[in-house]
Structure formats: structure tokens, C-alpha cells
């Protein structure tokens, strides 16, 4: 109970920082702009292709699905956008506390390091969730205007996938932020690591060797595929949840060990 209250106090504080500074507004603004831009581009292409399909085989051809073409496509792109934006949300989490000396306030208050970490993690995650919700308004139009509205299930799992992959980015960014007192270093390092983990997924080639295949499984975005199609594959969800847990664990170890060395 007290643990929950402490975590919540930290979440509130992080939100005060996000919305008391331009960070939250810039992040939400960039995110929704890009969301909208991808959405318009994909919709345009979808309409062109489906019109052409309609002309060539009068009424016969398979119906193009909004889910596969539009929603999954946009969500995929947004996962990459999240990779760029989340370091902005996480870089200050610990780096700034250390530079300002406020880490001393947190560490000498009757709360545990894990509560501090959870509060900061959830604070960033909730902001990210808010960004996703803002972006989803675009999809709401499809239900209103499309002749055959998209299925909701793949949309839900797709959003879950986007949330999970973002949570992984945040967990890693949080850990990196504990390593330094310089926000720019934390942000750049997080961004570099995330890019690296994304690129690992490119090795996912059936013709590649076993090692490459295994390494590719570490690619954060490779596990999005089935979720985006509406299939909740337990191994993907477990992969994301373990990645998040591992990131938070590393952050905890880092915070604790610095007390010993500092």
C-alpha cells in the first residue's frame, strides 16, 4: 500500500516535469504529426491500389484489408518513430536527478530504489501511452467512413505491441540514464543501443546461419510481426516482458551499486 503510494508520488512528479517543461508537448506534437503523416500516405496508397484492383477484376479480386494495409503499416512505422522519441523521455530520468543532487533527496527518503525506478518507469510509460491514444484518433475515422470497417482485434493487439515495444525502449533508456549525470550522453547512448537492437532484426533471413538467426531474435522490432497481425503469440509477449524486467533490474543494480562506489 505504502509502496504503491510512493510509486504513485513519483509518477505524479515525473508528469509535473514532463508537462512543466516543453518535453511532453514536443513529444506528443511530433508523435501525432508523424502518425498523421504516415496515416495519410498509407491511406492514399491504399485507395490507389484498391481502385486499381477493383478496375482490373471487376468485383472479383480479394478485398484488400484495411487492417493489413493501413493499420499494421502505420503501427509498424510508429514503432520506429518511438525508437527516436523515447530516448527523449528517458534521458533525464536519473541523469538530471544526479546532476541536480536531488537523487540525495530521493535516496534519503523512506522509499526503496525499486519504488523510485518503478515510479519513473511508469511515469514515462504513461506519457507514451497517452501519445499512442492521441495517435489512435486517426484510426477512429476508419470506423466512421470506411465501407467495411477494420476488425478491432488486430488493432488492439497491434496497439499492445506498440506499447510493449515502447516499454522496452523506456526500460533500456531508464537504465542508461542511471549510468551518467549528463542527459545528452544518456539520450545518445540509448538511441544508439536501440538502433543497434533494431538492426539486429535485419539479420532475420531464412538463408542465414543458426547464430545469425538466434541473434536476430534479439531484434526488438522482429517480435512485432504476429502481434500486428492480430495473433497473440506468448513467446513474443514473454520476450517483451522479460526485456522490460531485465532493463529495470539493470537500473536497480546500477542505482544500488553507485551508492557503494560513490
Amino acid at each position: 500500500m505504502t509502496a504503491l503510494r510512493n510509486v504513485w508520488a513519483l509518477v505524479e512528479k515525473e508528469w509535473r516535469h514532463y508537462f512543466g517543461s516543453p518535453i511532453a508537448y514536443v513529444a506528443i506534437c511530433m508523435w501525432t504529426l508523424l502518425f498523421g503523416a504516415f496515416y495519410v500516405l498509407v491511406i492514399n496508397r491504399f485507395m490507389m491500389v484498391s481502385m486499381r484492383a477493383g478496375m482490373s477484376e471487376m468485383g472479383g479480386g480479394p478485398k484488400l484489408s484495411l487492417n493489413d494495409w493501413v493499420i499494421s503499416g502505420v503501427l509498424h512505422n510508429m514503432a520506429v518513430v518511438a525508437l527516436f522519441i523515447t530516448p527523449m523521455l528517458t534521458m533525464r530520468l536519473f541523469a538530471e536527478e544526479k546532476r541536480q543532487g536531488t537523487i540525495e533527496l530521493l535516496e534519503t527518503s523512506p522509499i526503496t530504489s525499486m519504488q523510485i525506478i518503478m515510479g519513473k518507469f511508469l511515469g514515462a510509460l504513461f506519457l507514451y501511452a497517452l501519445m499512442i491514444v492521441a495517435g489512435l484518433l486517426n484510426f477512429a475515422l476508419l470506423w466512421h467512413y470506411a465501407a467495411t470497417p477494420p476488425e478491432w482485434k488486430p488493432v488492439a493487439t497491434g496497439v499492445l505491441a506498440l506499447l510493449l515495444v515502447g516499454a522496452c525502449f523506456i526500460a533500456l533508456g531508464l537504465f542508461v540514464s542511471t549510468l551518467t549525470r549528463n542527459q545528452i550522453v544518456a539520450g545518445t547512448l540509448t538511441f544508439g543501443l536501440l538502433l543497434g537492437l533494431w538492426i539486429l532484426g535485419w539479420m532475420d533471413d531464412p538463408s542465414a546461419g543458426a547464430v545469425a538467426q538466434a541473434v536476430a531474435k534479439l531484434g526488438l522490432l522482429t517480435h512485432l510481426e504476429s502481434l500486428m497481425k492480430g495473433v497473440i503469440d506468448l513467446k513474443d509477449v514473454v520476450f517483451y516482458l522479460s526485456f522490460i524486467t531485465f532493463g529495470l533490474f539493470l537500473a536497480h543494480q546500477s542505482v544500488e551499486s553507485q551508492r557503494w562506489r560513490a
Binding site: 508520488a9 505524479e12 516535469h17 541536480q100 543532487g101 534519503t108 527518503s109 557503494w260
Partner: protein
């Protein structure tokens, strides 16, 4: 209330705190005195569970800082040297956040914050962003934060650093007022502060306790080396020799033309004779000042002589005679 036993903190090869022991009783205000880098902040950080000790134990309100940190943290209020504040928060919401993480129950929070703001005189800036506050206000917000959960023990690292003289006096009064109700440890290198606010002083140097006593006793111990400053106007040949001839005078120095510094023998008050000597030589006596060895001088004395002979540090619990301290 606080028991420190043989506490040691090493950073790699560097020993910041080297086996110090002291006790603070309930309601006492203890001054923690030492030059920069003496280990004051490190000791305070250990007492507040920010740093784990390398060796030795420290107990605060009966709880071990290493084994039961949460219990200790619930009972300790701490202001580091630079108050830990979020510049982008206003004072009210900052204190609200602090009250929450310090476990002040929800129903008491508002009244508690109001009480603390009144005590530290920051109620007028409650809606101001901390980043816009002056240094004096920031220091007081830092103090307010430490008082929120009504802790048994207050640990203040240089609470008057960077304040103007008026604010320093106000802060001292505030701290004095808090003693009795709270047990206070404050560190400083401003010496008059100690004699004004603290009931007892622990002087540390290079991570060791070099003296522990009341400010009066420390001054008293070294009163033997009293100096009298004498300012005269007029011309008199060999006036220095006249002064040296006064009984009880050990030595005379000419500080600048017309100003003499006279060292008297221990326990002798030579002021009357010096005045008579000056007037007798036909000089105008402008001022005559006896300065016992100030805490400042004692401090310098202890922290510089003990560098050469660290073994000569007196055991903290037994007050040593003046001779021993001076050796």
C-alpha cells in the same frame, strides 16, 4: 539518539572517514566542525543512509543505518549542502511531493506543509517556481523539506552556506528553536555559528575526531594564551620595552604603528597595568582589547598541529587538559 562507533569510509585508497566515534543525546545540538574535505559530509551521508559505511556502525534512534535504512530514514530529516530542489516545481507542490515520499499521511499533509512553511517563513513564496527563488529562500525550502515528517533527528550540512548576514542570524535562531524538540547535527566551517547555536562541538580533521567538548570548554582550555591589543596615539621612545616590562607580559609585537599586541601569561589580566603604562608615558590610550583564543584559533590550532602528529589526537570521550591539546 545517534551512536557512531568506529565509523570508517574509504573511497578506493582514499580514506574519507577514519574510525570516528561520537554520540549525540536526545534534544542536543551538535556542531560538526572541520576544514573542507575533513569528512563532515561523508559522515552525514552515512548517517542519512545515503552511503553505506566501509566499517564500523552508526545507529540513529536505535536503528542501524546499514541494516534498517528505511526505519532510519523515517526518523531523519536531512538537508545537504546544496538543497536538493527541483527548479521547475513551485514550492507548494515540491513540499507536497516530499511529504508524500516521506510518508506523511494524506489527511495531515496540508496542515503539516502549512506548519513547516510558517516555521521556515516561506509561506509567501508557496506558488513561486523554485528556480526563481533567491539563495536564502532555497536554503529555507531545503530546511522545510527536512522538517516535513517531523523527524526525531535533523542533519544539516552547512545550513548557512551562502546566506547574507541577516539570513544567517535568522537561520541560526530557527535552528536554535528546533533544538530540544529535535536532535540536531549541523556541520559548518563558520566558527561563531558553533559557539552561538551548538551545545557541543566535534572537531574533525582528515577523517578523525580531534576534539569534542562544549564551545565554552574548548575556548576555556586555551584561554592561557590571552592576547591584548593596545592602540595608542602619540610618540614615546621605546614604548615596546615599557610594555614588555609590565609584570605578567610574555611578549610584545608591533602590529602596525600605534598598535601593539601583547601576549600575557596564563591566567593574568594585565589590562589595567598596560593602560597605566601607556598613560604614564604620556600617550593617548585609544583602545584596549583582550581577545581570548577564539574558537577560530583553536580550530586552526587543532587542525594544523594534528597534521604533523595524528597520534596526538585526544580520545574523544575524555576531555583532555589544555596542555595536551596544545601539544
Amino acid at each position: 539518539m545517534i551512536e557512531v562507533e568506529n565509523l570508517t569510509k574509504r573511497y578506493g585508497r582514499h580514506t574519507a572517514v577514519d574510525g570516528i566515534s561520537f554520540r549525540v543525546h536526545k534534544g542536543e545540538i551538535l556542531g560538526f566542525l572541520g576544514p573542507n574535505g575533513a569528512g563532515k559530509t561523508t559522515t552525514m551521508r552515512i548517517l542519512t543512509c545515503y552511503l553505506p559505511p566501509t566499517d564500523g556502525t552508526a545507529r540513529v534512534a536505535g536503528f542501524d543505518v546499514f541494516a534498517q535504512p528505511l526505519e532510519v530514514k523515517r526518523r531523519v530529516g536531512y538537508t545537504p549542502e546544496t538543497p536538493p530542489l527541483y527548479p521547475d516545481m513551485d514550492v507548494g507542490s515540491f513540499l507536497d511531493f516530499c511529504a508524500k515520499i516521506k510518508g506523511v499521511p494524506g489527511k495531515d499533509r496540508k496542515t503539516r506543509i502549512a506548519e513547516v512553511m510558517e516555521k521556515t517563513r516561506i509561506a509567501d513564496v508557496r506558488a513561486t517556481l523554485i528556480g526563481r527563488l533567491s539563495k536564502g529562500y532555497r536554503q529555507r525550502v531545503g530546511l522545510a523539506q527536512a522538517l516535513l515528517h517531523n523527524p526525531d533527528v535533523l542533519i544539516l550540512d552547512e545550513p548557512t552556506a551562502g546566506l547574507d548576514p541577516k539570513q544567517i542570524i535568522e537561520t541560526r535562531e530557527l535552528i536554535k528553536g528546533l533544538g530540544g524538540e529535535h536532535t540536531i547535527v549541523l556541520s559548518t566551517h563558520i566558527l561563531p555559528e558553533v559557539s552561538m547555536t551548538c551545545g557541543r562541538v566535534v572537531i574533525i580533521n582528515k577523517g578523525r575526531v580531534v576534539a569534542e567538548d562544549t564551545p565554552e570548554n574548548l575556548t576555556h582550555r586555551l584561554q592561557g594564551a590571552a592576547t591584548v591589543r593596545l592602540e595608542v596615539r602619540g610618540e614615546a621612545l621605546d614604548f615596546e620595552k615599557t610594555l614588555a616590562g609590565v609584570s605578567g607580559v610574555k611578549s610584545v609585537r608591533l602590529a602596525r604603528p600605534g598598535v601593539y599586541e601583547v601576549d600575557a601569561e596564563a591566567g593574568r589580566d594585565v589590562r589595567a597595568e598596560l593602560a597605566r603604562a601607556a598613560v604614564g608615558r604620556g600617550l593617548d590610550l585609544l583602545s584596549l582589547q583582550a581577545s581570548g583564543m577564539s574558537l577560530e584559533e583553536i580550530f586552526l590550532h587543532l587542525t594544523t598541529t594534528d597534521v604533523a602528529a595524528p597520534a596526538a589526537a585526544p580520545p574523544p570521550e575524555t576531555p583532555s587538559p589544555a596542555e595536551e591539546v596544545r601539544s
